[in-house]
């Protein structure tokens, strides 16, 4: 990769292909897909179309069978597994569909988890708020989780509240990229909008690139880039292409 590309892209896939072991054909074959820093990308596609696999490739959890994936200017395949783990901890925050939280940790401890494992994230959180717990508290308040809730066990929070705690955890220490995998699918329509609005605000404040995967097209209008995976993916079945409007 040429050095000037480092600043250009939050992430970039070139000729990236992936095939699960034992499968006959590739699930992903993406000639080119990139996004600039701070962009808000909405990726849609039916389940089983390889959305999660795409996220795993960009997160460096899976390695492409061919081609290259770079994040924040770093070519992931040039890193060892341990280096990718560290890189991921530093630069990517995750929000999953559900059950994001560690049940035996307090809300605050759940939010602080990335700071425990990544000194860089902790350093950034301290720089932002003075201390990591303060950064966590600020985020929780901004995500509409006031302090009376913090003492509550995470398992006794509503699903919407849990997802907002997960968002705070993904955002703490301002990682370069937030990956959200169907984070709103377990929320009802009203909460969906509220959650998305809060998430977008915080990503903008932190300057993080947001990679948002969903099959709910009603959310797409809030994003700067909307991508149908089937259009990116040469390996997609023809039916998938047809099915996509």
């Amino acid at each position: 990769m040429r050095p000037q590309e480092a600043a250009e892209f939050a992430f970039c896939l070139r000729g990236a292909r992936f095939r699960w072991p034992g499968q006959e054909r590739d699930i992903l074959d993406i000639p080119f897909f990139s996004a600039g820093p701070g962009e808000r990308i909405f990726i849609s596609g039916p389940s089983g179309s390889g959305k999660s696999t795409l996220l795993s490739l960009i997160a460096g959890i899976l390695c492409p069978s061919a081609g290259e994936v770079s994040v924040n200017g770093r070519c992931l395949s040039a890193l060892t597994g341990a280096e990718r783990d560290i890189f991921r901890g530093e630069h990517i925050g995750f929000i999953f569909q559900q059950f994001n939280l560690i049940p035996y940790l307090s809300i605050l401890d759940n939010v602080l988890l990335p700071c425990r494992f990544s000194p860089e994230r902790r350093g950034k959180a301290e720089k932002q708020a003075g201390s990591a717990p303060l950064a966590a508290q600020n985020l929780l308040e901004q995500l509409d989780l006031p302090s009376p809730l913090w003492k509550r066990q995470v398992t006794r929070l509503s699903v919407g509240q849990q997802q907002r705690v997960a968002a705070a955890r993904a955002l703490i220490g301002g990682p370069a990229m937030i990956m959200a995998d169907e984070p709103t699918s377990s929320l009802d329509a009203d909460h969906r909008k509220v959650f998305l609005r809060l998430l977008l605000e915080e990503c903008r404040a932190a300057g993080s690139t947001l990679l948002f995967v969903s099959h709910d097209h009603s959310l797409a209008e809030e994003f700067s880039v909307t991508v149908k995976l089937a259009e990116l993916n040469r390996a997609a079945c023809p039916e998938e292409n047809r099915g996509a409007p």
């Binding site: 795993s56 959890i61 597994g81 341990a82 059950f99 560690i102 035996y104 990335p114």
Partner: protein, 423 residues
């Protein structure tokens, strides 16, 4: 907080969250620890009280025969001596310059199954057991009159005897059809304090009394037509002709080998001199084969406990897949997952060991006195001995190695899964 201590706290909190299931794992390790340590403690105390049933005695002398046999009747008052040694030889040995004291032992009679030992006042003066403890009288005084008897604590307790009571000795050491020395009753003058040695189960009379009750006997039976009353017996020359064995204490321990050599080549009769420590060890090793079986069983119990540990953690991995994947997503490396799981195992083993030690202490405190009472085994409350530390270390190490099994499984799992389980 460093990464390691954080992982340890995390492991602790996670385990606490699943305490319902893990309680049983801790319980089985507690059980293993208590069993292994308890057994070790009883074993060492048993050995100690056995081997130290006689202490301070440098040489046990008797008629030529097996070392172990000599010890059995001289110290444990078990079995009949096939040969006696002469009183002359005993006096000659007692008179030697290097000899500090001697205790004669004369066997042959019993009282309701308990052996009767003929000896002298030196027995109360010089006999030592368990690291040099002296015999003490719980009640009464040593024998003074001819037909006085001092009884061991167990004899007194089981037969309900007190000083002042009179009793009759029987000829021979076992069997129910023993002829009694009914014409010469003895008076209990003293009861020995419990010692945890064969002295608890014995009755002690003077050598002269031993002679006196056999005055009108010949070859193991009363002479027909001859009756010598107790009063008349006192007028006879009651110096013994023979004794069964002689316990010898030296002024300097270093002289024991020379004296032993001399006794083993005694001119006037065939004698054997045995150093008690060596012989007691030999006897112990003969009777303790059960010890190894017990050790084997408790080792198996420990292995079962640790297998329970491994299987409990392995079983929990399924339900913790997501938890581990979430940790990976926030930056935990696969190595961190290994450490997390190993920490959990170590915490559980640690908790088990602490509970085991507490349970052992509680058991010793509550059952110790009863053990000492009924078996003469003094199991004391004390800090773990070197052997016990070794066992604890062994359990820790085995626990650590065992918890590596689920840890490595989790390692492979988190490498293979990555975040795919949740993404």
């Amino acid at each position: 907080m460093t990464r390691w201590t954080y992982l340890l706290t995390l492991a602790g909190r996670s385990a606490w969250n699943r305490r319902g299931t893990l309680l049983f794992v801790v319980f089985s390790i507690t059980l293993s620890t208590t069993l292994l340590l308890g057994l070790e403690r009883i074993r060492t105390q048993l050995r100690e009280s056995f081997v130290q049933a006689v202490s301070g005695t440098d040489l046990v002398v008797g008629a030529r025969g097996g070392n172990i046999q000599l010890m059995l009747y001289a110290v444990f008052h078990l079995g009949g001596a096939t040969n006696n040694m002469s009183w002359d030889s005993a006096r000659e040995i007692a008179g030697r310059a290097e000899v500090a004291w001697t205790i004669p032992v004369s066997l042959g009679d019993s009282h309701r199954g308990y052996p009767v030992v003929g000896t002298t006042g030196d027995f109360f003066e010089h006999y030592r057991f368990r690291g040099g403890t002296r015999l003490a009288l719980a009640r009464g005084t040593p024998f003074a009159e001819l037909f006085d008897v001092v009884i061991g604590s167990e004899v007194a307790k089981n037969l309900g005897y007190n000083p002042g009571q009179s009793l009759v000795l029987a000829h021979g050491s076992s069997g129910s059809l023993l002829t009694e020395h009914g014409d010469k009753p003895f008076t209990v003058t003293g009861v020995l304090a419990p010692t945890g040695t064969p002295a608890d189960r014995s009755l002690y009379i003077s050598l002269e009394a031993m002679e006196a009750i056999h005055l009108d006997w010949q070859g193991g039976a009363p002479l027909p037509g001859l009756r010598i009353s107790p009063e008349l017996a006192k007028k006879f020359d009651l110096e013994p002709k023979n004794i069964t064995a002689l316990l010898v204490g030296l002024k300097k321990r270093g002289q024991v080998f020379a004296l032993q050599r001399e006794i083993n080549s005694w001119k006037k009769e065939a004698l054997t001199g045995v150093m008690p420590g060596v012989a007691m060890d030999q006897i112990w090793n003969m009777v303790n084969s059960g010890e190894r079986a017990l050790l084997l069983i408790s080792t198996l119990v420990t292995i079962t406990g640790l297998a329970g540990l491994a299987s409990a953690i392995l079983a929990s991995l399924g339900e913790r897949r997501r938890e581990l994947a979430v940790l990976r997503s926030v930056g935990a490396r696969p190595l961190d997952i290994v450490i997390l799981l190993a920490c959990e195992g170590i915490l559980l083993v640690g908790a088990g060991i602490v509970c085991g030690l507490a349970a052992l202490a509680a058991l010793v405190a509550s059952l110790g006195p009863a053990l000492a009472d009924s078996y003469g085994v003094a199991v004391r409350l004390s800090a773990p001995s070197a052997g016990e530390w070794l066992i604890l270390g062994g359990i820790c190490l085995a626990g650590f190695l065992t918890s590596l099994i689920p840890a490595l499984r989790a390692y492979r799992m988190s490498l293979a899964d990555g975040l795919c389980h949740i993404i």
